[in-house]
């Protein structure tokens, strides 16, 4: 895994932990704070409710106390005996002021209610005064005055309305406060529920994230394991021996190919020099490998000869230092050994063959030199006696003159002709041998011009005969001009020679460029032709398919053609049937053809 990915992963993880902590804090703290506030608010609301109840209770108590006092006074007034009437009066009278004070205290927070209480206080004060007057009057038995005071108290100081105002207001406040308290309670439930839900969600998220993280880690580990397994499998199965050494050149790892060749099933920790029966004990190699380990110098195709039971092996050793992070050995030497024994052997073989070839070439040139000396000798020495035979036969004929008979002259003629023919044969053979020896002088040759030139030279031979020429456009070729002239001379003079018995000779010269690799020239005639059965002999030296008495010649011409054409890298062949004319072909490689064919007049 690349370092950048690892780094970003770590940063991401840290961020995730921080976020998680914040979420946990929020989900725990916020509901707590909310709950806390709700509880206090609920308590407040309850206190208010209780407060309202107290106000109502006090007001009601006050009203009962006043009614009790009034009832006692009315009973006394009407003369109805009341048990403990005086006690009730005194007791009630004592309660009035504390109750009013309590009411005032309780409603201190509410100005409206205070106003109501103030009104009630005034009324109650007025009533109590009249009650006190009525009580005194009754004690003095002044019933009329008492009755008047009581009636006044009822008329002037009716407290029912004021009390009702207090009760109503308090009832309103009570309802309001109860509603608030209920709302607060509802909110508190909602908040609690919300916090609970949030905690649930958070917990789910934490579980989900941690699960996902775990799965990811497992997947990554699997991938890493697979990659390791794959690498190991490659190293194991590669056909080239691979070896991993530590800095002291002890084995850290080998692959199957290595173990197969050099043995050592488990060579871990063994020194390289001890492996494979000393195949690796070469001091120069060990020195080089130590350099690789110590200085990081690479070893490139170091050729190492290893002695083995089957006659030795040559390997190319490549080694380089590699870093092994997160292991005990910080650096290691990776070494591969390519077996080049077969290549080495074939190189050796090639060298041997080359040497053989060179010696054969020198033998061939020796033979060539001898051959040259031989042909020179043939040319000069062999022909001299022939010259003498022919020359002196002529002289003898002249000397005998008319004195000799017909037969003697015939014999002398045969002697002279034979010597001359042999001389011609030797001359042709020398020419043929020269064609093989002389260097090719390649130059652009205008085939059209060459053919025209040869036709002019043949004019004498053709004489009065009717020859219809048909010459197509012929290209310029890169060739030896002298040799190409020889070729055309031979082919065209053959065509002229072998059409001698036709009333009208037809000779066609053309070129076929359908094959990209070569250019094919041909000379077609309507002459005597030949039997294809003997076509194989056609281009041989001194091979003739016709009797000399029919068509004279030494039989060297086509051999010369073949030799010249093959020296240019081309081929020669022919096609014919007896009495149906013949076509002679020769080809030149396209590489030596230049330019476009020049249109020639027929």
């Amino acid at each position: 895994m690349p370092w950048t990915t690892v780094l970003s992963d770590r940063a991401e993880m840290r961020l995730r932990v921080v976020l998680l902590a914040i979420a946990v804090l929020a989900s725990v703290l916020l509901p707590y704070l909310m709950l806390q506030r709700t509880v206090s608010e609920t308590q407040d609301a309850s206190a208010w409710v209780e407060h309202s109840a107290k106000v109502k209770q006090t007001t009601t108590d006050l009203m009962y106390v006043l009614r009790d006092i009034e009832n006692v006074l009315l009973a006394l007034y009407t003369g109805v005996p009341v048990d403990g009437g005086e006690a009730i009066y005194t007791q009630g009278r004592a309660q009035v002021t504390p109750l009013l004070d309590q009411l005032a205290r309780l409603t201190r927070d509410n100005p409206d209610q205070q106003a109501n209480v103030g009104t009630l206080e005034a009324i109650v004060g007025g009533r109590v005064k009249l009650f006190d007057a009525a009580h005194e009057a009754l004690n003095a038995k002044a019933y009329d005055s008492a009755g008047e005071s009581l009636a006044q108290a009822r008329e002037l100081f009716a407290f029912r309305t004021a009390a009702k105002a207090i009760l109503d207001l308090e009832q309103g406040l009570f309802a309001e406060r109860t509603a608030i308290a209920e709302a607060r309670g509802r909110n508190a439930r909602f908040a609690t529920f919300g916090a609970f839900a949030a905690q649930l969600v958070l917990l789910g998220a934490v579980i989900f994230l941690s699960e996902r993280q775990t799965l990811r880690r497992i997947a990554a580990e699997q991938r890493a394991n697979r990659a390791v397994a794959r690498s190991r499998s490659i190293v194991e199965n590669v056909r080239e021996p691979i070896l991993l050494l530590d800095a002291r050149l002890s084995v850290l790892m080998t692959n199957a190919a290595f173990r197969e060749v050099y043995g050592g099933g488990d060579a871990m920790g063994d020194a390289l020099a001890t492996l494979g029966d000393g195949a690796w004990s070469d001091p120069a190699l060990l020195q080089r490998l130590a350099d690789v380990a110590a200085r990081g110098r690479e070893l490139w195709d170091h050729e190492l000869a290893q002695a083995t039971a089957d006659g030795g092996r040559t390997v190319l050793v490549n080694a380089r230092r590699i870093e092994l992070p997160e292991t005990d050995a910080a650096v290691a030497v990776l070494l591969t050994a390519t077996d080049v024994t077969a290549r080495k052997r074939s190189e050796q073989r090639v060298l041997e063959l080359n040497r053989e070839l060179e010696s054969q070439v020198s033998q061939v040139s020796e033979v060539n030199r001898e051959l040259e000396a031989f042909s020179y000798s043939v040319s000069h020495d062999l022909r001299a006696p022939l010259r003498h035979i022919a020359g002196f036969a002529d002289k003898l004929g002249a000397h005998l003159g008319a004195g000799a008979d017909e037969r003697a002259h015939h014999y002398l003629e045969v002697i002279g002709n034979s010597a001359r023919r042999m001389s011609a044969l030797i001359e042709d053979l020398l020419l043929y041998s020269r064609l093989g020896r002389n260097a090719l002088r390649l130059q652009p040759v205008d085939t059209s011009a060459l053919v025209a030139e040869v036709r002019t030279m043949l004019a004498e031979e053709i004489g009065a005969r009717a020859v219809r020429w048909s010459v197509g456009g012929l290209p310029i070729v890169m060739a030896d001009e002298t040799m190409m002239r020889q070729v055309w001379q031979n082919l065209l003079s053959n065509a002229v020679k072998y059409t001698a018995r036709r009333d009208e000779a037809r000779i066609e010269v053309g070129v076929d460029r359908s094959d990209a690799a070569e250019i094919v020239f041909f000379v077609r005639d309507n002459g005597t032709g030949f039997d294809m059965e003997y076509a194989g002999k056609l281009f041989g030296v001194f091979q003739r398919l016709h009797k000399a008495s029919d068509f004279p010649g030494t039989g060297i011409g086509l051999a010369n053609v073949r030799r010249i054409v093959s020296r240019h890298g081309g081929r020669t062949w022919a096609d014919s049937a007896p009495d149906r004319g013949a076509t002679f072909y020769f080809s030149l490689p396209s590489g030596i053809v230049r330019g476009k064919p020049i249109e020639a007049s027929p």
Binding site: Y376, S379, D381, A384, R387, G391, D394, K395, N438
Partner: protein, 147 residues
Amino acid sequence: MNREIRTILLAEDSGADAEMAIDALREAKLANPVVHVEDGVEALDYLFCRGAYAGRGKGNPAVVLLDIKMPRLDGLEVLKRMRETEGLRRVPVVILSSSREESDLVHSWNLGVNAYVVKPVDVRQFFQAVQTLGQFWAVLNESPSTE
């Protein structure tokens, strides 16, 4: 004109070839005496008036006919020495050879030969070849036909 008749020097090691050449020259009815030597050394001896020819009269031959292949010193070597020598540089030289080998031909022309004749088996051709070397008529002397 009291003109000294100059010789024709024939250098030819083959007796038969020499005989045919001499016959051909005789048939041409030339008045010039033919001096026949059998190798290159003798040819140079004659040309430089030394050795066996130390006592010969002064004067260069009218023409020198040189065979190429000769013992001791070959015709091309003789030709080369002649062309290097002031007094012999302008003497006409005809190379006689049985060879059409190109190297011989080129070599001879490079050395400044005047004519190159391939020795024909046919004596008549040989005679014609020698006879038709145009410039010869300027240096050769025809013998009186009344001989």
